[in-house]
Subunit: 353 residues, 2 copies
């Protein structure tokens, strides 16, 4: 007798595995068509089985944001990992070089400080670290500001005995495809004139992934959210609601007024991420409902009395941001339709170090 989703305690996170497969295939087909390698960012799911599925379907490896995520994934058999983050500090650097002994590892840097740390740690551990230089092509987060600065770091890496310049990487500004293209073109021109090969040019971000081929020179793409999609990606035009594979199942626990219902899903489930949207999620069975206000365990929704779900009724919510929801739960449920296939630990949840 199979378990159905209505038997799960709420709130619970449901992963529609058919949609997951379709989302992964669509992205891999797109990448193959345009000669791009995919290196999915596992931050969205944090589940080794899904990382393996991404690789099985054609990904060249995976991306992790944190060393501890990479350690979990390496323990689960993933063998080619890029850590898209500056790893800083002696303890983390020795974990990094230990990991570099076990798998094909690459890592990001955006400063001489980080590069020096890598070079010294690699020499001390007698391993060779492959380092991609992070470039700020417009997002204003990390990354060197100029191609000259990128070239300087590349030269430092190539000049070191235990390091290798792995290429350029960027997390571009959402909607900034043209700006990214101009930055990358300028950098590739500078590197060519300097006689410095750029083995990989890696970009990322789901909102603009279907425009990845419009940035000449990009060889690799690191989408994260594309596996689940979410309300923010629907708003950005990168997906439809029918492609959203992660939903939160919640129960109406209070109906204090005609037009107000309270769900057992608050910020401990959906988080406070708005990502510029109105409300904290989309209630599939009541699309006109506004997920109005969250506290930790309460989600207040407002709608007209005749459509508002009843006390005890279950609803499914497409969250604004799937990645952060994954991080709130120790396990998610793989489902096909309304059938529960498996309860799966979110093995890399909470990996912040």
């Amino acid at each position: 007798m199979s378990l159905t989703i209505d038997k799960l305690a709420t709130p619970s996170v449901l992963i529609d595995i058919d949609r997951v497969r379709a989302n992964l295939r669509r992205a891999q087909d797109y990448a193959d068509t345009h000669g791009l390698r995919l290196r999915p960012h596992i931050k969205t799911h944090k589940v080794p089985a899904l990382a393996r599925l991404q690789v099985e379907l054609g990904a060249c490896g995976i991306t992790c944001q944190k060393l501890s995520e990479a350690e979990v994934m390496a323990d689960a058999g993933l063998s080619d990992i890029f850590i898209s983050y500056n790893i800083v500090g002696a303890d983390k650097l020795s974990r990094l070089t230990a990991l570099a002994r076990r798998i094909t590892l690459s890592v990001a840097a955006d400063s001489a400080y980080t590069v020096s740390g890598y070079i010294d740690a690699a020499r001390a551990a007698d391993v060779t670290l492959t380092v991609l230089v992070e470039c700020d092509t417009g997002a204003g987060r990390c990354g060197v500001a100029t191609a000259d600065a990128a070239l300087d770091l590349a030269r430092r890496l190539e000049g070191a005995s235990h390091a290798r310049f792995g290429g350029l990487m960027t997390y571009p500004k959402a909607g900034g495809t043209e700006q990214t293209a101009a930055w990358i073109a300028g950098a590739l021109d500078l590197f060519a004139r300097a006689g410095m090969a750029v083995p990989v040019v890696s970009s990322g971000g789901t909102p603009d992934m279907w425009r990845a081929h419009l940035v000449p020179g990009v060889t690799e793409y690191r989408p994260g959210t594309y596996i689940y999609m979410d309300r923010s990606q629907v708003a950005a035009g990168a997906a439809t609601l029918d492609e959203c594979a992660l939903t939160v199942q919640a129960t109406v626990v209070s109906r204090p007024s005609e037009t107000r219902a309270v769900l057992d899903a608050g910020t401990k489930t959906l988080t406070s991420d708005l990502l510029g949207l109105d409300g904290f999620g989309h209630v599939l069975s009541c699309p006109s409902a506004r997920v109005d206000a969250l506290s930790e365990e309460h989600g207040v929704i407002q709608a007209d009395a005749e459509v508002l779900p009843a006390l005890g009724e279950r609803v499914r919510i497409v969250p604004n941001h799937a990645c952060v929801v994954s991080n709130m739960f120790d396990r998610v449920y793989f489902v096909s339709g309304d059938t529960v296939l498996d309860a799966v630990p979110v093995a890399a949840r909470g990996c912040v170090t």
Copy 2:
């Protein structure tokens, strides 16, 4: 040789145990002075040892928002727990009655639907459930809207063989002390005229806790954040920065511009909770810094070049909201000054069901 905080991997959550004790004592003294019982909400810390400390210092018991939190706390020896939430659904109701056999348990309800569920489940399990009626005194979340509705639920409970009316509870609107007082006064008057005793009147919320005695009739108070305090409580005037016991230790991993630094603490550490504040936290060593933009693993801070922390430097951040930070971490570190005393599992982290 003792471990100091600079040896901990970042980001890490530090709990200044001296401040914790002082915060708990101050609140208990206040409660004792005004003849109030304290029933702290453990959502803020989710740590059994701290719940026990609260009881040792005089709390009459604890409050949990979720059944699974209460189960963790009962397993850890806490013996008097109020669950301030509507428990809905057959599976949860049978967990609730199982818990009621083990400890002194009370639970909230704001509808005939929830009350019926309790009465039926208690009869089936042959236990007696003590139920407090939740009242919306202005916060607009859960709770009956009128004293008449509260009286109706109280009568249903008193008329049932396996239930008991435990009193009234509210989570008042922040800053709404007068409104709460008026609501409670009206309800107590109605109940008195109806000849219905109200054993407990329970209110909560740290922002207004030092005004709890200004609401006549309140017998019990359920503060949560008071144990740690945070930036939102400082803004509300309920605490000073020097009373904030929870800080996030983070490292500067990038300095992409003169006035921008990037910390290894993003929404997976601080969460997106703004609570009406500007920025996502207060950097103790750089009070003028604006914690400007968070992504999952990056915290961008902006400040004048001469005060901005350097690459590799560690900072401590008072978060906007301490409770949600606790929920992001598998363990926190108890510290005294810069000395690490213990690594403590956040045992009730992620308890959403």
